[in-house]
Amino acid sequence: MTNFFDNKDRVGASLILAFSLFYLRSSLSIPVDSFDAEIGFTSKTLPIFLGSCALVISLLLLFISFFQSEGQSISKGARDYDWKPVLGLILLMAAYVMLFSYLGFVLASALFLQSAFVLLGERRLLVSISVSLGLVLFLWLLLTHVFGLYLDGGTLYRVFVS
């Protein structure tokens, strides 16, 4: 079972196979317009065709993957990958997206950048804070004062102001 998932083509094809099955199932329940039905091309015609093709090709790729030699191993390549900072950055971005409306553009962005710099190994705090705050403030000034765009100050800012 471990070997089954240690093949790039196989895992990719399995993921798309699952996606195609879900997509096909959803496509079958798309409501149909009576006029479209007359010309034989409804809202679900193309989705069903595409879903079926994706299903067949992912199955074909899955089938072929059993005849493949090494070189497609996930574990071999993954050994050299730097997973931790990537996972950290994904979590940071998720936190940034969630906190954006609460903290507002300036604070959320500066915090995101500063945390990301530190996460990637920047230890000179003064430099990193200057870069993160400087860039965010420059963008904020440019967008709000030059381009006249509105950037959300965030709930926190509104609480303090009121």
Binding site: D82, I90, L120, L139
Partner: protein
């Protein structure tokens, strides 16, 4: 045509559009120079900036970014042997050894002059080809467009890397599938799962930023390229630019290869899916085969021909890839696919009617391509020693900034933080498929062509009373479909055969 060129000149030479060419070339050079970030990511990052501009200015800016990124990719290939784009890999074969031998300035100059020549000859060929092809394709109806869209999807899939055909076809299908989310051509909602964020479909900008800019930056970190530019900084510090001038003998030596590679590159670029990478390798290979025994020995050790040929070919191919986009409305590469998406979001429909309905956009883009080449030659080349300093900026700063700008790019168009969540999810999925070595460019292409493909199929069926007979009864449609089947099936069967027999 003269009128058209005059319209183009008039539009391209307005102060704002000249500024766009300049900004585009500089921004493109900066981004393209960063290893891992190519023209597609550069354009994806710049698209939000263009949304406030009129279509002509926006497209001029994007074209400038494209050329700049190609130039920037070559620069990092020559200076530190780290091609920013795949099209610059062949450039590094001789460019890097030349730079190592203390002639970095000369190598950059050869690359710039060759790119300029390739771009110029490509632009002239484009100028001659496009109006002719566009007038021929004016007779096209929905059935032909449908066939072309199918061809566009399959051609890119079929031309993709070795052992990647089935995966590319699958990813094109995923792109087409994603394009069906939201409103269908009849106006009905489908596959939105009751989510109002999906009622208008998935945004092209969101998808391109997530799959290219975001996933590419994350992939850079994953492969450990985020912190390891100390050696690059060191290498940059040791680069000796010397003189940017070329001797008469050197110019003489590269003149013919540049001419040949320009035409070859342009022709390869016109083919959907072939693109700059194949063109540069073909250009390099062709010149190596044609070189004298003495010149052949210098290949790989800093040969001016070995540097000039791929550089010329990849730039001419970049120009050539605009032919299918501007005449038929089908993108020939991932870069032109993303440009097609940008055009569609401006409300401009590329294709044969573009030069009738939107002559300003059509001609100004062609003229600005040439301007872009001039800007790269006159301004970027002398400034390269300074621009190249970006390679010394620590990656722990650059990568988070790229991520931040990608997120901001999407937010500033929609002002909807919910879209950022969708973007993050798509970005992570794209990263997984990158790790699994599934090509993402065909997916983006399928996504962009999906809407038009369905629209034209529906219209063709309406005209033909629901009959699919148009597929074989209209000669042009039948021919395009036949070519599509051949182009698609040949590599698919050969790959299946090779994989199956290779195991035994």
């Amino acid at each position: 045509m003269i009128d058209g060129i005059l319209i183009g000149l008039q539009t391209a030479f307005t102060p704002i559009n000249l500024l766009m060419v300049l900004v585009g070339c500089f921004a493109g050079t900066f981004i393209g120079m960063l290893p891992g970030l190519g023209p597609v990511s550069a354009i994806a990052l710049m698209i939000p900036v263009t949304y406030g501009l009129d279509p002509a200015s926006g497209l001029i800016l994007i074209s400038g970014v494209y050329y700049g990124a190609v130039f920037g990719g070559s620069t990092s290939a020559i200076l530190i042997n780290a091609p920013g784009v795949s099209g610059a890999v062949a450039t590094a074969f001789d460019g890097y050894p030349m730079a190592q031998s203390g002639n970095a300035g000369k190598a950059l100059a050869i690359a710039a002059y060759s790119s300029f020549a390739g771009g110029t000859i490509g632009a002239i060929l484009l100028l001659l080809c496009v109006p002719f092809l566009a007038s021929v394709s004016l007779s096209f109806q929905s059935s032909e467009y449908f066939a072309l869209m199918v061809f566009g999807c399959t051609a890119v899939a079929a031309f993709s890397g070795k052992g990647q055909v089935l995966k590319a076809v699958l990813m094109t299908l995923v792109g087409l599938i994603l394009a069906t989310v939201g409103e269908d051509p009849s106006g009905a909602q489908r596959l939105t799962f009751g989510n109002p964020e999906l009622s208008d479909g998935i945004s092209f900008l969101l998808l391109s930023m997530a799959t290219f800019a975001l996933a590419e930056a994350l992939s850079m970190i994953l492969k450990g390229r985020s912190k390891s530019n100390d050696s690059e900084s060191e290498e940059m510090a040791n680069v000796n630019f010397k003189s940017l001038k070329l001797s008469r003998d050197e110019i003489k030596e590269i003149a013919m290869p540049v001419g040949r590679s320009s035409v070859l590159g342009f022709l390869v670029g016109v083919l959907p899916g072939a693109g700059a990478t194949i063109a540069s390798f073909l250009g390099y290979g062709m010149e190596r085969n044609l070189a004298s025994q003495e010149q052949k020995k210098r290949f790989g050790k800093g040969s001016p021909i070995g540097l000039a040929a791929p550089e010329t070919a990849n730039n001419a191919a970049s120009t050539g890839s605009f032919v299918p986009l501007l005449t038929l409305g089908i993108p020939g590469s991932a870069t032109t696919a993303i440009m097609l998406g940008a055009l569609l979001s401006y409300g401009v429909q590329p294709g044969p009617r573009l030069f009738i309905d939107n002559p300003t956009v059509f001609w100004s883009v062609i003229v600005s391509m040439y301007l872009g080449n001039i800007v790269l030659l006159i301004l970027n080349l002398p400034l390269i020693p300074y621009i190249a300093k970006i390679l010394q900026v620590p990656r722990q700063f650059l990568t988070p900034i790229i991520l931040f700008l990608s997120l901001m790019g999407v937010y500033l168009v929609s002002f909807n933080s919910a879209e950022l969540s969708i973007m993050l999810v798509i970005g992570v999925i794209a990263l997984v498929f990158r790790i699994l070595e599934y090509p993402l460019a065909p997916m983006l292409l399928g996504f962009i062509l999906g809407g038009m493909l369905e629209d034209n199929l529906r219209r063709a069926l309406l005209i033909w009373d629901g009959s699919y007979d148009f597929l074989w009864q209209r000669p042009i449609t039948a021919t395009i479909m036949m070519v599509t089947v051949i182009v698609l099936l040949t590599p698919v069967f050969s790959e299946i055969f090779k994989r199956a027999s290779g195991k035994r």
